[in-house]
């Protein structure tokens, strides 16, 4: 298996605080990797830096062999690296269907020159709509396509967020607490769905999660962050046995 994401000594500072302090890691294509750590350890910041929303102060990042640490978010996205948000950041002024149709890349109709000429992008639009329709069905959101995304329930919003991310045809997903705020049964459900989608679309998943009991059942490898550094890494069982980690979680 190829390496899909590699970080070398990434540092991100905010004023005097080193939120990410020399993080190095390597992730193989197709794997499911977890990222855990107490609050404030820098996990979300790390994801922000990888996805381009923030710029690293030091360090190198490779995605599919390409250096990305200086690229703007939209370029990183077009390479196939997509980050989803902890709280769903939906486009609240748009319907569920419109939300789904925003991410796909290379839409001809997105150029203002071509947009008024409906015949030029009609076919592409229909193809995308078909795909969106199938996904919506899988996510049990089919009947809501005309509803404003602001008006659906919290759980449905999370599903829509996921659907939207998938419409982007990502190669790798950075998931920031995908099960935050949902009931435990739904949490497992979400993970099951994630894994199925991963198989179907050959995704690599890098997941920040606090629900360790759920996460550890699904991931192959875990990185533990503490105060901006990688404290420990290994298979879930090894991490569970790791005394330092336990201390950090219970003591810190």
């Amino acid at each position: 298996m190829n390496e899909i994401l590699k970080l070398e000594n990434v540092v991100k500072c905010y004023e005097s605080l080193r939120a990410v302090d020399g993080v190095s890691l390597s992730i193989k294509e197709g794997s499911v990797i977890g990222l855990i750590g107490p609050n404030g350890s820098g996990k979300s910041t790390l994801f922000n830096v990888i996805s381009g929303l923030d710029r690293a102060n030091e360090g190198k990042i490779w995605f599919r062999g390409i250096r990305i640490e200086n690229l703007p978010p939209h370029k990183i996205f077009s390479l196939g690296l997509v980050k989803s948000f902890q709280d769903p950041r939906l486009f609240l002024g748009m319907t569920v269907l419109d939300n789904m149709l925003v991410p796909p890349k290379g839409q001809k109709g997105e150029s203002p020159v071509i947009a008024p000429l409906h015949s030029k992008w009609r076919d592409q639009e229909i193809a995308l709509a078909t795909k969106a329709s199938e996904l919506l069905e899988k996510l049990l959101l089919k009947g809501l396509h005309k509803t404003l995304s602001a008006e659906i329930s919290g759980g449905q919003m999370k599903l829509l967020e996921m659907g939207r991310t998938l419409m982007a045809e990502p190669r790798m997903l950075l998931l920031d607490e995908p099960t935050a705020g949902v009931a435990p049964k739904l949490a497992r459900d979400i993970f099951e769905r994630l894994l199925k989608l991963r198989e179907e679309f050959n995704l690599t998943l890098f997941i920040i999660e606090h629900r360790l009991e759920v996460l550890f059942d699904y991931v192959e490898y875990v990185y533990v962050m503490h105060r901006g550094k990688i404290l420990a890494e290994g298979k879930p069982d090894d991490i569970l046995d790791n005394k330092v980690v336990a201390e950090v979680y219970l003591g810190g």
């Binding site: 905010y14 703007p72 978010p73 939209h74």
Partner: protein
């Protein structure tokens, strides 16, 4: 030859100090209330006219300044309570608030115009006799010069002390830094906002009064100054207290010293003066959008995480 430089420099510092006062009010609302207040210009104008009206009663400058502070603070506070806060409570987006401030500014300006036009106050100087203290080159030094700089200085220092030493100042800084955190720690954000508006208004009012005494009062006084004020704020990095102070003086210098230079050396006419602050803004945005933040050695008192460049 060089004596025009001295006069020009003096005017630069004078005008710079007034711009600083005007700009600090804007910085205050920007950082604590997170509102770019487009009606700030009108607060300045109100201060100017209060000075004029006060001068009808007494030619005491300190009275004029005090009244200007109080009246304008009250107006700013009313704007907040009558318009901005109700809108906020109804879930207004930031742009709604900005639009509202724009609308409010226009309403205030035209009310002033409506009042000033028939009463003949369209362009009027306060009846505060100015004694000539001296002459440098072609610049005549009046009383007001002696008032303006120390007043500005005192107010800036008081503001600084307020923000750094007092309890309320510390609360204002926490709200500016992180509003959710401030709320969690039990700070009454509403009260802090009230105080900020009072201060912002007061500062703008005093600045307007000084301006009126120095030049004249008109319904457009604040509006014309807004460009320069905005330039000062942008230079200073939007939410930086010390940055704004430096920014105010840089704008003052550019508009006077540099303009005089351009006029004498290249024959550029004074009608083009407004282009200078505009050019400053464009240059800052192109070269260093964060402004002077980071270049100044002193601690910034009111900063939040700075403007992030997108794309």
């Amino acid at each position: 030859m060089l004596d025009w430089i001295a006069g020009s420099l003096l005017r630069s510092i004078l005008v710079g100090s007034i711009y600083t006062l005007m700009a600090l009010g804007l910085t205050l609302t920007l950082s604590v209330v997170r509102l770019p207040n487009f009606a700030h210009a009108e607060l300045i104008t109100i201060g100017a006219y209060v000075a004029v009206l006060s001068s009808l009663v007494s030619s005491d400058i300190s009275l004029a300044l005090l009244l200007a502070f109080m009246v304008t603070a009250l107006v700013a506070f009313s704007c907040h309570r009558l318009v901005y806060r109700p809108l906020s409570n109804r879930g207004a987006t930031m742009y709604t608030l900005v639009l509202a401030s724009f609308a409010l500014g226009l309403v205030l300006r035209y009310i002033i115009l409506l009042w000033a036009s028939p009463t003949g106050y369209l362009q009027i100087r306060p009846l505060i006799p100015q004694r000539v203290i001296g002459v440098i080159g072609s610049t005549v030094i009046l009383d007001i010069f002696v008032w303006s700089l120390p007043t500005a200085f005192v107010l800036v220092v008081l503001l600084h002390l307020l923000l750094s030493r007092t309890k309320i100042g510390k609360m204002m800084r926490s709200v500016a830094n992180n509003i959710t955190l401030a709320q969690i720690t039990g700070i009454n954000v509403g009260r802090i906002q009230d105080v900020s508006w009072l201060l912002a208004g007061g500062l703008a009012g005093v600045a307007g009064a000084l301006w009126a005494i120095l030049y004249y009062a008109s319904p457009y006084v604040g509006w014309f100054a807004l460009l320069s004020v905005f330039a000062a704020v942008v230079l200073g990095g939007l939410t930086s207290f010390s940055g704004t102070i430096v920014g105010g003086f840089i704008v003052g210098l550019s508009e006077n010293l540099v303009m005089d230079l351009l006029n004498r050396s290249f024959g550029v006419e004074f009608t083009y003066k407004p282009v200078i602050p505009f050019a400053l803004i464009i240059i800052v945005l192109l070269v260093r959008p964060k402004g002077l933040v980071g270049l100044l050695p002193r601690a910034k008192l009111l900063t939040r995480s700075s403007t992030k460049v997108g794309g």
